[in-house]
Symmetry: C2
Subunit: 379 residues, 2 copies
C-alpha cells in the first residue's frame, strides 16, 4: 500500500498535489533546490543541491511522480533502478525533446503544423524552401518563454538563425500556424488503463504566460471527442499513469497538436472547484494505484492567474463566489503567484465579476463577456 509519494519539484503544482493527497491519507516528499518552496507547507523537502540528496529522496517515498517537466532524465534513471516513477520515464524524455514529441504525434496520426528536423544549415535552407516563410526555429531541448527561438521572416535571416541556435544541438523548424484559439485537454490514466478526460479549456495568454482559461471552451462540443481521441492515443501508447496535458490549436484545418506536458497543468487549475474530482486528486489517485474520480463539470468556470504582483486579498475575496489560491511565493515580474477561480451562475454575473476583477489585478486582463462561457448551454 502506498503511504508516501515522492515528487520531483516543489512548486505550486506540488503544493496543490499534496493538498489533494492529504485527505486520501497520502503524504508527499519533494525534491527541490532549497527548502523555501511553495510545497514546503505540505511535506518534507529534500534539498537537491545537497550531497546524497537523490538517495535520500529515493528512500523517502513508496512511489514517485513529478511536477517539474525538466526533471533531469539521469535522476529519473537513477530512481527507476529502485522505485517506480509515474508517468513513465519515456513520457518525460519525449516531452523534453521537441523532435521526439512531433515524431510521436506523427506516429499516432495526431495532426501537427508543418515542421522539419534541422541538423545543419543545409537542412534549414531546405526547410525554408519546402515550408516557406515565416518559420520559427527552436532548439529541440530546453528553451522556454521565447528563449532558444528565432523567427525567420526573410531569407536573409537563415544564416543568422543557424549562427545563433546551431550550436545548441538539433533544431526544429515550424511553420507559423493561423489559429483562432488555443485549447488544452487534460486526461488521467489509471494503473488499470482506465482513461478519464476533463472538458476542454480555452486558454488566453499575455506576454507568453497563461492569463486565464475558460472551461468548458466555448463552442467545443465538436472538438471534445477529437481531442479526447488524440490524448487517449498518447496515454495508451506510452502506457501512461497519471495526468497528461495536450495543448492544441483550433485552425481551419481542425485541431493541431502543439505540445504535451507530462503533468498537471495550469489550464487545469479550474478543476479544484469546477470538476467533481480535480486534476490534482486524480493524478495522486492514479500514482497511488487508487480508482479514478469523476472528471465531470460541477459548473462552468473561469480561472485567472495572478502574475508578478499580489492583488489585495480582501478585494478578491469580496467578489462573490471567487476562490483564491495563493502559492506562498514572493513577487517577481512574470511569476505565477496564485490563481482565482470564478464560477458565475449566469452571464450577467460573469460580466460583472470580470469587470471587477480586471480592476483588481495588476496585469491587464482581456476577460470580456463576449469571449465568455456559453452559460445557458452548459449550466
Amino acid at each position: 500500500m502506498v503511504n508516501t509519494v515522492g515528487i520531483f519539484g516543489g512548486g505550486q503544482l506540488g503544493r496543490m498535489l499534496a493538498q489533494a493527497a492529504l485527505p486520501l491519507g497520502l503524504q508527499c516528499t519533494f525534491y527541490e533546490a532549497g527548502s523555501d518552496c511553495p510545497s514546503a507547507a505540505l511535506g518534507r523537502v529534500i534539498d537537491n543541491t545537497q550531497p546524497e540528496a537523490l538517495q535520500a529522496f529515493i528512500h523517502s517515498a513508496d512511489v514517485f511522480s513529478l511536477e517539474f517537466e525538466n526533471t533531469p532524465l539521469a535522476d529519473a534513471d537513477a530512481l527507476t533502478q529502485h522505485k517506480t516513477l509515474y508517468p513513465p520515464r519515456q513520457a518525460l524524455a519525449i516531452a523534453q525533446h521537441r523532435l521526439s514529441e512531433k515524431a510521436l504525434f506523427d506516429q499516432l496520426a495526431i495532426p501537427v503544423a508543418p515542421y522539419s528536423a534541422v541538423h545543419s544549415l543545409n537542412d534549414l535552407q531546405r526547410a525554408v524552401q519546402e515550408q516557406g516563410l515565416p518559420l520559427v526555429v527552436k532548439t529541440a531541448t530546453g528553451g522556454y518563454d521565447g528563449k532558444g527561438q528565432f523567427a525567420i521572416r526573410e531569407t536573409a535571416q537563415i544564416e543568422q538563425a543557424w549562427h545563433e541556435l546551431g550550436q545548441a544541438g538539433p533544431l526544429i523548424a515550424e511553420s507559423f500556424v493561423r489559429f483562432s484559439r488555443e485549447v488544452s485537454i487534460i486526461a488521467v490514466r489509471g494503473q488499470d488503463g482506465e482513461v478519464r478526460t476533463w472538458p476542454l479549456a480555452e486558454n488566453h495568454h499575455h506576454q507568453g504566460i497563461l492569463s486565464h482559461s475558460i472551461v468548458p471552451a466555448p463552442q467545443s462540443q465538436d472538438l471534445q471527442p477529437i481531442a479526447t481521441d488524440y490524448i487517449t492515443r498518447l496515454l495508451n501508447h506510452l502506457n501512461y499513469v497519471g495526468v497528461l496535458t495536450l495543448e492544441l490549436f483550433v485552425t481551419e484545418q481542425g485541431l493541431l497538436a502543439n505540445e504535451m506536458a507530462p503533468r498537471v497543468h495550469n489550464s487545469g487549475h479550474w478543476s479544484i472547484e469546477g470538476a467533481v474530482c480535480s486534476q490534482f486528486e486524480n493524478h495522486m489517485r492514479a500514482v497511488a494505484g487508487l480508482p479514478l474520480g469523476s472528471t465531470e463539470l460541477v459548473k462552468p468556470t473561469v480561472m485567472v492567474n495572478i502574475i508578478g504582483q499580489h492583488p489585495n486579498t480582501a478585494d478578491i475575496l469580496a467578489l462573490d463566489g471567487a476562490h483564491l489560491h495563493l502559492y506562498g511565493k514572493t513577487e517577481r515580474t512574470g511569476r505565477k503567484l496564485g490563481h482565482i477561480t470564478l464560477m458565475p451562475t449566469d452571464s450577467s454575473q460573469l460580466s460583472h465579476l470580470c469587470q471587477q476583477l480586471a480592476g483588481l489585478l495588476p496585469q491587464p486582463l482581456a476577460l470580456t463577456p463576449d469571449m465568455a462561457i456559453p452559460l445557458a448551454d452548459n449550466a
Copy 2:
C-alpha cells in the same frame, strides 16, 4: 495584516481549518498535547504539556481561534491579555456551562425544552414535581458521551441521582423532549457584523455519535428562516466572530434549541464540497478579518462519518463522485477517523451509493433512500 492564526486544539477540525487557510495565504499554529495530532501535517504544533507552552503559543500567531470547545478559560484569559481571540471568550464560557447556555437562550427568546437549575437535593425534588418524569440530570460543566448524566425514570431514583452527581457543582434537570429529528444550523459572522448561514443539516446518530448528515435537511424550507433568526440573535448578542453551530430539535411545538458549539462542527463538513465556501474557509476568513464567502449550496449532499475503523480506501474511491477525507488518526472504538461526502445527482444514484457505502463501512449505516434529500426540489 494577519499572516498566522493560532488555534487552540489540533484535531481534525484544526486540520481542515488549516487546509482551507493555506490558499488564502494564512498559516496556522496549534496548541495541543503532544505533536502527533491530525493538524500536525499543516502547521507547527506547540505541545501544551511542556513548560512555557502557552507563552510560546501566544507569540506564535497574530490572531487566535479554537477548534476545541473545552479550551480552558484560564488559557483564553491569559491569551486575551495580549492578543485577540475569535470567537470571544464569553461565547466559550457560555458554551462550557449548560445553565449559562440555557439562560442565554431564554434571554434571547430562543425556545428550549423545560429545564431547572439544581443546586440541592431539594431543587431536584422540586424539578421532578414541576417537570414530571422522566428527567435527565446533567452536570452544568464537563461531561460528554453520556458521562456526568443520570436519567431519572421514577421518584425512587432522585436521591441516587443527587448522590452520584451532586458533588460535581451545579446541575441541570431537563425534561425529555419528543422530537422527530435533530437538525443543526451553522452560521458565520464577520468582524463587520455580517452574518451568513448555511442550509440546515439533518443529523443522524449512532450510539451517541454523529453518523451522517443530510443537507439541505428534507422539508426544511419553513424551518430555515426560524433557525437563521435564532442563530443570528446569538451571534449578534455575543458580538461573535467566526463560525457558530446551533443544534435544534424538530418537535410538534416547533424548533427547540439543544446546544450551541462555538466552532466549526461535524455537521458542517459537507460544506467543503457542497457549499461555495466551506465552514472552514469562512471561519478563517472571519478570524483574519477578510470578507465572507458565499454559503450557497452547490448541490444536495450526504456526509457520512468513518467511525472506529478505516474502510478500504480504494473501495470508497470507487464510488463515483465520493469524496474521502481521512484525518490521519489511528483506529479506536467510537473515534471519528474521517468522513465521506456524497453528492448524488438523482435519487436513484443516491439509493445505489447508499447501498454500496453501507456495505463498505464497519459501522452500521441507517442511510436509506426514504430519508433522502428531496433531490428533485433542490437540485
